[in-house]
Symmetry: C2
Subunit: 236 residues, 2 copies
DNA sequence: AACTCAATTATTTTCGAAACTTTGTGCTTC
DNA sequence: GAAGCACAAAGTTTCGAAAATAATTGAGTT
């Protein structure tokens, strides 16, 4: 699922980048998550082919995949739109995600080996390095934080054996990212709180304490969602 | 998910069929579920364009959607394959489906109105009409039974408000259909048992007894899956 | 025989022109 | 002025040729 797009730097004409197909899929999804395209906005092919510099067919393929993932809606003959957002949907997605994540982490704790544990510690450290920064710097590197935050949560459940469980968990995580976007400008005290929570979750997990880890994750997620919900309510 | 094709005009040359795109998606999925293409089989564009009489692009779009749904796998540059099946996967899918279905039916029972109830009774009756047939006839109309069985289970949860819950429930139901295929030739006594179970589930649901309905559904599904699992184990 | 590596064949992936649909606009009629 | 109709404009959907990539074959070498 994660196609890493590496900097197409000015080196010799080496072909490091992903194929245009999965590349445009990733960029498009990222643009929707980051609200470059507003919810319910129409996605016209004419505009898109220029923006992403790909053919109509390639774009169409990416868009129909995003439709399966729930990021866009499609109506035959009328084209594609960015899926709308709503408070009700956020509540449901949060609920489902917590269910998946807590279940996955219990299974991971039961099945995880030393490599899994070591990776969690490593990835958590990478997250710390950004979260520990002075607030202004931390905000400047928000995109990077999003990525590392994702990697941290992914590492926690990586040892879970259920492929479908992980798949659905990832789907819901991706959807939550869209809503997390509205809390981008959270306060410094909130940021500090998260910093601590991540450490506690990491510790409970490597201590193989499934109940604590699950409970902490639930609080951690619900907290963020509640704040997003409040902001969403103020806006409309 | 179900694209209803409404006749765009009342003209003589009426176009009753779905647009090529969603049409080929449906046919392809159906062919995979019915094992026309065996698990892990390669899906070559040259063959497919002839079989379905559509262009490469259209086919590609359908295939990448089926990839998101988990029916096919895709490897960049190497094309598409039918997703493999395994006993482990069946166990996981069954588990997840039961979780979704029982949760959905409780919510439906809490929220359902008179129309919802009436529809369940109607759809159950349509199912009965096939299940009550002499066994040989019942088997001849197996495809029709699959459709009505799906409609029955869909009607039960139709009043559930969670869009994502229903979505994931449908995903898992579709996946189960693939495995149900192997139990197509179940015995007459098994068929009779299902006949009774469907009636009991229907009755518990319209009686608004969520606990009973959920418990019965769990037994009902797990029973079928266990039988499929046995057959799957014998084969490989 | 086992191992290159270059040429050839098979297959996938991309792209945009052409066909088709929907939406918008202005004219006609009642 | 509203409703209907015809035509133009805007947009989407389909298709297959062409480019790019992967797999195969086979001659030459160790």
């Amino acid at each position: 699922m994660q196609i890493r797009t590496l900097p197409a730097n000015g080196r010799a004409a080496t072909r490091v980048e992903a194929t245009t197909g999965s590349n445009v899929l990733t960029r498009l999804r990222s643009d929707i998550v980051n609200s470059e395209f507003k919810p319910s906005a129409r996605l016209k092919f004419a505009d898109m082919t220029k923006r992403y510099d790909v053919g109509i067919g390639t774009l169409r393929e990416a868009l129909s995949q995003l439709a399966s993932e729930g990021f866009v809606t499609v109506e035959a003959g009328k084209g594609f739109k960015v899926a709308p957002v709503s408070a009700e949907e956020l509540v449901e997605i949060t609920d489902l995600f917590i269910g998946f994540e807590t279940r996955a982490i219990r299974e991971a704790i039961a099945a995880g080996d030393d490599d899994w544990e070591a990776n969690i510690v490593a990835v958590h450290h990478r997250l710390r390095l950004i979260e520990g920064l002075p607030w202004s710097e931390r905000m400047e590197r928000h995109t990077e934080w999003v990525q590392r935050h994702r990697e941290f949560h992914e590492a926690l459940v990586a040892a879970c054996q259920g492929r479908w469980l992980l798949r659905m968990r990832t789907m819901m995580f991706d959807q939550l990212d869209r809503y997390r976007f509205v809390t981008k400008n959270a306060s410094e005290s909130q940021g500090r709180k998260k910093f601590d929570e991540h450490r506690e979750i990491m510790q409970a997990t490597v201590a193989r304490d499934g109940d604590s880890a699950a409970a902490m994750i639930e609080r951690h997620i619900r907290d963020t969602s509640d704040r997003a919900l409040k902001i969403l309510g103020q806006q409309g």
